[in-house]
């Protein structure tokens, strides 16, 4: 197991290296550079040229890459061109929000998707089945901006249940410990801050969860259908076990295996899905920051964030793989 983890981590290195090279060349080949973004409508060719020169953007790409790598290897991800704050600071500040959002979205997706998927499988062909398919499709096909708009209009503006923007009420003077607002509130016993932060998470998380929810639902449905056909379920029935035991221990425990891998995969897509959700809900996370960084050609931020994204993605999948060996004793990691 340990070897497996080490091995997988070591395997990440060339991937990250390749990714960084690819990204670097790619980003620097994009038309327009940070100088245009910095100057906006007010840029004159002379000013642009000066900034480019000052920033070393007119040097050969490998020289730039060499400098970049040198800095990265010394542990410095650089400073954001647009906010003038270290990329790591930005990351530490914004990532917790995205994680909170992603986690809550995952909880929604799993918490709703699995029971619904199970129900759909159990009542295969019934109206429940059709409804879940429909709802899933709706979630997949409706653009985030539209879904977010509707949620906000209904649950916030009309019903007044939830706030629509931000991570926390601006008037709450909460103490920041970890950057995870919900957690911070709990740690400092500022319960109202914690609850308020959670309320701020509900709508964006619902929006973000729409696709994973559909996926989890579908995978669960398919997987439950498959497991229900398995011989061991018949064996369990033949032992006269109660429905509950059969459902929990025999059907769901097995049906969860493919769902688990999917969740790993989904986390990656959730991270990139967060991009638009965060914008729509003015939620301060890495997602919206990346969008801005693309606009601003903020190379250090883009490089740093995407590499970290990739790393997180890889780590999550590693965790899923490792946890697999706990969920499914048959799995031998190699």
């Amino acid at each position: 197991m340990f070897r497996f983890i080490v091995r997988r981590l070591l395997q990440v290195i060339p991937t990250l290296f390749g990714l960084s090279l690819l990204l670097f060349i790619w980003l620097h080949r994009l038309p327009g550079g940070p100088e245009t973004a910095i100057l906006g409508e007010r840029g004159t060719p002379e000013l642009r040229a000066r900034i480019r020169h000052d920033m070393g953007l007119d040097e050969p790409i490998w020289v730039q890459y060499g400098k970049f790598m040198k800095r990265v290897l010394s542990g410095d991800l650089g400073t954001s061109i647009s906010t003038k704050r270290p990329v790591t600071t930005e990351f530490l500040e914004r990532f917790p929000g995205t994680i909170e959002l992603t986690v809550v979205a995952l909880i929604f997706a799993i918490g709703l998707g699995i029971p619904l998927g199970y129900l759909a499988a159990r009542r295969r062909g019934s109206w429940i089945d059709s409804v879940t398919v429909g709802v899933g499709l709706l979630g997949i096909c409706t653009p985030v901006f539209f879904l977010g708009y509707i949620y906000k209009q209904v649950f916030a503006v009309n019903l007044g249940w939830f706030p629509t923007t931000g991570r926390q009420d601006v008037t709450i003077d909460a103490t920041r410990v970890t950057g995870f607002f919900v957690l911070d509130g709990i740690l400092t016993r500022e319960w109202d801050a914690s609850i308020d932060a959670f309320m701020h998470l509900v709508l964006p998380a619902l929006t973000l969860a729409s696709i994973p929810l559909a996926v989890v639902m579908r995978i669960t449905r398919a997987s439950v259908l498959e497991v229900m056909q398995e011989d061991f379920v018949r064996t369990a029935e033949s032992k006269g076990l109660t429905r509950k035991v059969i459902r929990g221990r025999h059907i769901m425990r097995n049906a969860m295996l493919p769902v688990a891998t999917t969740i790993g995969l989904l986390t990656g897509s959730l991270l990139s899905g967060a991009v638009l959700t965060e914008t729509v809900f003015a939620f301060s996370g890495v997602g919206s920051f990346i969008v801005e960084a693309i606009d601003r050609r903020d190379y250090p931020v883009l490089m740093g964030f995407i590499m970290l994204f990739a790393l997180v993605y890889v780590l999550i999948n590693l965790i899923v793989d490792v946890s697999y060996t706990f969920i499914d004793p048959r799995v031998r990691v190699r």
Binding site: T36, A37, P45, V170, T171
Partner: protein, 535 residues
């Protein structure tokens, strides 16, 4: 959503406890106005700092600010600023001529990264250089020296006469900061390298000025900047206790947040929403249109042969139904632009040549010019709205339809506003026509006309030495009235030469809740919250 409203209701009858949350489209970049040039940073620092001169509230005309009086000597090079008395910085330091000069010297003596155009943009564009220039591209500084004469007189000498001085001193970048705070928080220590600029703590956490609000905190994790009433303010104290700027970049999100009473106002209202918001009882505050949208015609682009012929440019101008565009895509109060500067700004010329909508005329002019099968590469920005351009794509589609009616083939190139689009139309020549505009920085026509036409640029692609010389002359004219006359001539000259087609002046709006009053919309987006009240 109700949390805020509860809180607002809870607060006692005294209006001085009230909080106003104002939605803005982007984060501030830094809170040292000398180091920033963007509107969102300025919006915040305008509440914290003040400048020697400032635009009148709700207008663009220059009126006294921290200086009660400002006068040039006969040469026009030496200006005496008589300062307000009894003003204190928010840290308790006294505001006086020494402080003013300290600030000017700080800017003037910038070294290293402080000379980076990204850092001290406005100093550089207005003043042109520093005490010791570190780049060959920089010129001689307009600013020569600042001397304190007693506590209340600051004498500022310039190296030449220019239209910019002193009106440009109204720019927030020339805000006067507390020298003590500047020193204490190492305001000048911009570190790192050009591609890795790090700002000092002053710019991020410790801004201290003389304004009606003082800085409390900048919560980057929740995207808010919180300000508080400055109780030692020299003028009428702010009515709000707390003023919070909350970043909500998405347009619909701002609107919904307002409806949900999470914010009590926001800027950049989409014109399309104005009517709806008004009918819902919100106060829509419309600014005077201090901007212009134009369709530039590039004379060194792919179709340069045709476009360098003024007849062809005229044909294009005639082909476009600007009336329809303004009616369909602009809010109430918008006007069709006849020239490249907004009306109401000195220099506006009612007598410029106008190019009315006439497809036939356009066709005739094209025929006259001997141009057939004209194909134009039309750039338009996507995913952006600007105060002068509420729906670029929609406007483009209307223009395209018009041009096609006149027999012109249009080859469309969409691009993301930043940096692709700006880069494409401002730094490269691969465009024939494109949409762009300008919102004035300060109240002088040169800020419009000169910015566009006082030298050759890839955006317009023409060289017209006579025109350039005329601009240089106007800029040097010390007598304002004379200068305005020259601007009028310039406007006429430009519209005859027709480097592009001015399209519209659209008044941008901001909106506040029904119970909010005391905010006066400003053409320069210089809205002051000092008198804002929440009922």
């Amino acid at each position: 959503g109700c949390a805020e409203s509860d809180r607002a209701d809870d607060s006692s009858s005294s209006s001085s406890d009230k909080t106003l949350v104002f939605g803005v489209a982007g984060d501030a970049k830094a809170l040292d106005p000398a180091l920033t040039s963007d509107g969102e940073s300025f919006r915040v620092t305008r509440q914290i700092y003040e400048t020697l001169v400032r635009p009148e509230e709700g207008g663009a005309k220059i009126v006294p600010g921290l200086a009660d009086k400002f006068e040039p000597d006969s040469s026009g090079l030496k200006w005496t600023f008589t300062l307000k008395k009894g003003v204190k910085f928010q840290d308790g330091e006294a505001f006086n001529a020494a402080a003013v000069c300290y600030n000017f010297d700080r800017w003037y003596k910038s070294t290293g990264l402080m000379q980076n155009p990204d850092v001290t943009y406005y100093w550089q564009t207005i003043m042109g250089g520093y005490e010791k220039n570190e780049s060959a591209d920089l010129g001689q500084s307009l600013f020569k020296s600042c001397k304190a004469e007693g506590d209340d007189k600051a004498i500022i000498e310039t190296t030449k006469v220019t239209s910019k001085f002193p009106s440009a001193l109204a720019l927030p970048s020339f805000s006067i900061a507390s020298p003590k705070a500047l020193q204490q928080y190492n305001a000048n220590q911009v570190t790192g390298s050009a591609d890795d600029i790090k700002y000092p703590p002053y710019a991020m956490e410790h801004p201290v000025g003389t304004g009606p609000f003082k800085f409390v905190k900048w919560d980057t994790a929740n995207k808010t900047v919180t300000l508080e009433r400055n109780d030692t303010y020299w003028g009428d104290k702010a009515k709000l206790k707390t003023l919070i700027f909350k970043t909500i970049s998405d347009l619909n999100a701002r609107k919904q947040a307002l409806r949900n009473n999470e914010i009590q106002g926001y800027d950049l209202v989409a014109p399309a929403d104005v009517a709806a918001l008004k009918s819902e009882g919100f106060n829509v505050l419309t600014r005077p249109a201090f901007n212009v949208l134009y369709m530039a015609i590039n004379q060194s682009g792919p179709a340069k042969a045709a476009l360098s012929n003024v007849k062809v440019r005229q044909a294009i101008a005639h082909a476009i139904n600007r009336d329809a565009i303004v009616k369909a895509k602009y809010p109430e109060g918008s006007t069709v632009a006849t020239q490249f500067q907004p009306p109401g700004l000195d220099g506006y010329n009612d007598g410029v040549t106008k190019y009315e909508y006439s497809t036939d005329k356009a066709k005739a002019l094209l025929a006259e010019a001997g141009v057939s099968n004209l194909t134009l590469k039309f750039w338009y920005p996507t995913e952006v709205t600007r105060p002068y351009m509420p729906d670029p794509k929609g406007i483009q589609e209307l223009i395209t339809a018009d041009l096609q009616k006149a027999g012109i083939t249009v080859q469309l190139t969409p691009a993301k506003w930043s940096p692709d689009y700006l880069n494409g139309v401002q730094a490269n020549a691969d465009h024939d026509i494109h949409l762009l505009g300008w919102t004035g920085d300060y109240g002088d026509a040169y800020n419009f006309l000169g910015t566009f036409f006082d030298h050759q640029t890839p955006e317009w692609g023409f060289t017209n030495q006579a025109l350039f010389d005329a601009f240089a002359a106007a800029d040097k004219e010390a007598d304002a009235q004379k200068r305005f006359g020259m601007y009028k001539d310039l406007n006429k000259q430009i519209m005859d030469y027709l480097p592009g087609v001015p399209v519209a002046h659209g008044p941008p709006s901001l909106v506040v809740a029904k119970n909010v009053s005391g905010i006066k919309p400003s053409p320069l987006t210089d809205e002051r919250f000092v008198n804002a009240e929440v009922k």
